[in-house]
Each structure stands twice: as C-alpha cells, then as structure tokens.
Symmetry: C2
Subunit: 334 residues, 2 copies
Amino acid sequence: MAICNQSPFKTLTLPSPKTLFNTTNSPIPNFQSIKCNTSLSCKTLIAEPEPIFTSVKTFAPATFANIGPGYDFLGCAIDGVGIAAISTMKMLGIKSIGLSLILDKGLPLGSGLGSSAASAAAAAVAVNEMFGGRLSVSDLVLAGLDSEAKVSGYHADNVAPAIMGGFVLIRSYDPLELIQLKFPFEKDLFFVLVSPEFEAPTKEMRKAVAKEISLKDHTWNSSQAGALVAAVLQGDLSLFGKAMSSDKIVEPARAPLIPGMQGVKRAALEAGAFGCTISGAGPTVVAVIDDEEKGKEIGSTMVEAFFKEGNLKASATVRSLDRVGARLVGSEPR
Amino acid sequence: MAICNQSPFKTLTLPSPKTLFNTTNSPIPNFQSIKCNTSLSCKTLIAEPEPIFTSVKTFAPATFANIGPGYDFLGCAIDGVGIAAISTMKMLGIKSIGLSLILDKGLPLGSGLGSSAASAAAAAVAVNEMFGGRLSVSDLVLAGLDSEAKVSGYHADNVAPAIMGGFVLIRSYDPLELIQLKFPFEKDLFFVLVSPEFEAPTKEMRKAVAKEISLKDHTWNSSQAGALVAAVLQGDLSLFGKAMSSDKIVEPARAPLIPGMQGVKRAALEAGAFGCTISGAGPTVVAVIDDEEKGKEIGSTMVEAFFKEGNLKASATVRSLDRVGARLVGSEPR
C-alpha cells in the first residue's frame, strides 16, 4: 500500500528519492501500499498536467516470477504493493509539482515475492493516478523497470504482473512487449507461499545459474515454458503444476542453496500440490493448488519439511491469483 | 495417401517392411495416402482383434515442425500422408494376419515438410482403422515415433501433428505427453510453402545447431516459445509471426546453409507476411498469412528472392492449417 501526499514544500526540480519516500515496515505480509500527496507549484507550466487529487492511495500485489521454466520472462501477481515515482513524473512531464510518498511496505525484502517490484508498481500507479491516469500500462511498467534496474536488474517479470495483475509474459524489452495471459475466470488458483527464516540474496542466486546451457536442456525447458503458457490459457492446473516443477536449468542450480528445498518440494507434491518451485530467486517456495483448505494442509506439510529437512523455521500463507494488479484504493479530490 | 490391402499370402509372422510396402511417387505435393488390405489367417487366435475392413485408405498431412523457437517440440499439420504399420500391428497384438500397404507418396523426401512422418502417420492410422480403431492417438504417435526413430531421430514434432492435426506441443517423451493447441476455428491461417531446388540433408542441418546455448539466448528463445503458444491459443497471427521469426538459436545456424534464405525471409516480411522461418530442417521456407490471395503474392515474391539472392529455382504453394490430422478416406467392408 502506498500513500502519495502533497509535499509541504514547493519545488521546481525533481525531489530526490530520499526526500520523496517515507518507508515504514508493517507486519502484514504480501501487501504493500503507497499514499501520494501533492502540492501544486505557483509556476506550473501550461504543458504540464495538473493533479486531480491532493492525495491518492494505491496498492500493488506481490509477484511470483520465473514459475520454473519461465525464467526471467514469466511472472504472475499474488493477491494480497515504489522508486518508480520519479520515472513516472518524468513521463508525465511534471517539473513544478512536489510529491511525497509514504510506503506501507508489507513484503519482506529478499523473499522472492517481488517486494521491490510491488513498491515500484504502487509508486508508479500512485503518481499516475494523481494526475488522472494519463500513462499506459506499458509506460507504467517502463517506469517500474527503471526502478527495478537499480535494485535487482532490468527484469520486468515481477513489475509487469505487479502492475497488470494475472500472468504476464515479457516477449521483448526493445520495444517492450507484454503479453497478458488470461487464466480462466471461473477456475480457482491458489499459491501456497512458504517462506523460511533464511536470507537468500538475489545476486548469489543469480550467480548460481549456469551461463551455458546444453541444447538438450534448452529444448526441454522451452517445451515446459510452452506447456506452462498453454496451461495458464487453458486453465489446466495439472499441466501447470507439471510444467512449473520440471525446470532443468534454474531450479536445480538454486535449490541446493536453500536448505531443505528439495525435501519441501517432495513433501508438497506428496501432499497433493499440482506443482512446486522457488519463487523468483527465493527463498520462498511456492506450491499450487485449486482449493484453499487443501492449500493450508499443504502449507503445514511444507513448513514441517523445512524444519525436518533444512533445519529452518518457516511460515506458510495461502493466497489466490491477483487478477487486477496495482490499483487506486483511496483518494482525496482537490 | 496410403492404401492398406489384404495380402495375397497368409502369414503367421510379421511381414518385413520390404514385403509390406509398395511405394510410388506422385507429382502432387503436400499429400500422402496409404491403402491397406488384409488377409485373415486361418489360425487367428481368440485374443487377436479381427479386421473389420478388407481395404482402407488413409491420409496424413504434411507438417511444419520447429516453427522457429519451437525447436524439436512444436509442430503443426499442413492441409494437403508409412513403416509405423509394424509397430501398430504389434500394439494391436496382430500376429496371424498379413497386411500389404501401398504408399501414394506426394511429399518429396528431405523437403522439411515431414515426408517420413506423414508416411508413418498414414500407415499407423491405416492399420489401426483396419482393425476398428482400437488404439489411442498416443499409441499411434508412439508407433509413428518407432518409424521416425529409424529415419530422422526420435522426434514427435512431425508425426504427432501428422496424426492429430493442428498444433501439437510435445511436453515429454517418457511418458509421452502431447498437448493439442487449438487455433481458433473462426480464424484463417495460411502457410506459404516455398521449396527451392536444393538438397539440405536433415543430418547436416541438425549438426549445424550448437550443442551449448548461452543463458541469454536460452531465455530469449524460451520466451518466444511461450509467446508462440499464446499466439496459437489466442489466434493472434501478428504475435505468432513475430515469435516464429525471432529464433536466435536454430534458424541463425541453419539459414546460412540454405542459399538466399535470409533474403527470402526479408522479402516475405516486406511483402506483408506475419512471420517467416525454415520448416523443420529445411530447405522449405514457410511464411504465414491470414489471406490466401495475399499468400500467393508473398509466395511469388519469395520465389523471386530465392532466384535473386540464392540463385535457386523454387516453387511456392499456399496451404491452410490441417485441423484434422491423419484419417480414413476410404474403406471396403468385409
């Protein structure tokens, strides 16, 4: 959740990120918001858009990137929220209006659930909504990408679903081409998110992935990626689970860096999960299921397995697919 | 087209491929059929199924495998037909009945249009239909795979669509798992097939593909594979064309082995094709379009480009997607 406020000072230059954000930690997992307030400068230029609110409150969901064989190009939003504010302001052509943002950050950093992307998404949407929602979804993703590039690399597989909701495939970056994959509305999809008390830095997890892949593994993983996309569009959770669990490139390299991961995955599948893999660069492990209660049982089994197989304490939550993405959740008209 | 006949001799052992097939060449491209006749042995065992026809005629379509980034796991059937007969007979448990097959082979060998797969598909379906169609589609593909393994390698990306029709993704071989991707029925999809007078042996084309792939190219191609699947299921020909044209691994390695290929691709895209790549291991080049007349124009442009850029004579045909696959086209009841 993010709150964007009118800043108490008037400015003609872009405020620096430090003056722009107030970050507070909240114990609520899987949730971020931004409140954005604005002050209109007396020197507003004609070409500059005017804010239509004095305060907006936005939300952006957590995200599950990679999804096994979808490494670096496929992600989805998890029900449950920004540095992208400056890029968004630049895109809107705003120079004379000061903004302050309060970030209510509910996602822990380094969880593999797209914490930085959720912040970026919430901030970008907050600034955009403040000025009447002039920017396209692609522009917002580009603004979020500017932020992600500084934090975890130029990857849109978290920030695109955080902004757009549902499943998003990034076909290209130059130009940015995003493909929204609609999971059938009438079907249920739940993510069992199990986060161990263990720090798995994104950079080290990235280094673990080999730079050279065999043609055989490439062909295998590409076919799983294709199957994953077919599973989403056809609403076939059994196929989705098999494809997400079948990565032969990234997961086998990263799993040994998360104590107990392989045992946790085995436990999840034995408990009835359709599939299980690492979320993003970990250490959160995600299993998928079509029933919330069954999801809770699977979560308990996975928490037990983390303790038994990896000697790690862990906590489990069951969340559904977020089909909406970053959105306005409150505003004060001018 | 394949014709399966009652053999004039009675046998208690499996006939050898040589005695089983009569192969004739036909000038009709993109088309194969098998006629299958049968003779019932006087020693038929109770467990053995009985033929329900004395003669069947089957057809199997040509196929377009790889489709750019779908290397070795994605193929589709082209409107327009077997060694798999023995495997099919084994699966049916037939030991005491002799079959003769006449193959009316309309596809040139080594065209990249799945000639051997079409023959295998037509033969497998002919034998199966002769005995009342007891085998599943998966079994027929496995029978076809036995045949393909002896000819061009253990790959189902031609034989699966030749049997099933439409687009087929092979997710795994052990066990065999095939995913049928339904292209929307209300949409038109035409393939412009341009075959140069040039022999490109499958084995050499296969050798040209690197055995080690960079992580960057792997990620790129996997995302294109996902996009290709999404494009088929969503009926988005523009996306289909872009994804099929964006292979950074196989096509760039093979294209230089087909004189003029790059110029032909450029010409096709400039003439309005949504996408263009090599069919299978070539040398046939395939472009896609949504209108038959437009397809003919694109074909002429590509033939000209083959002559101009590669000094090769070529011929073009425009065919639509075959949504049915190998089928019975005629039979004589017992």
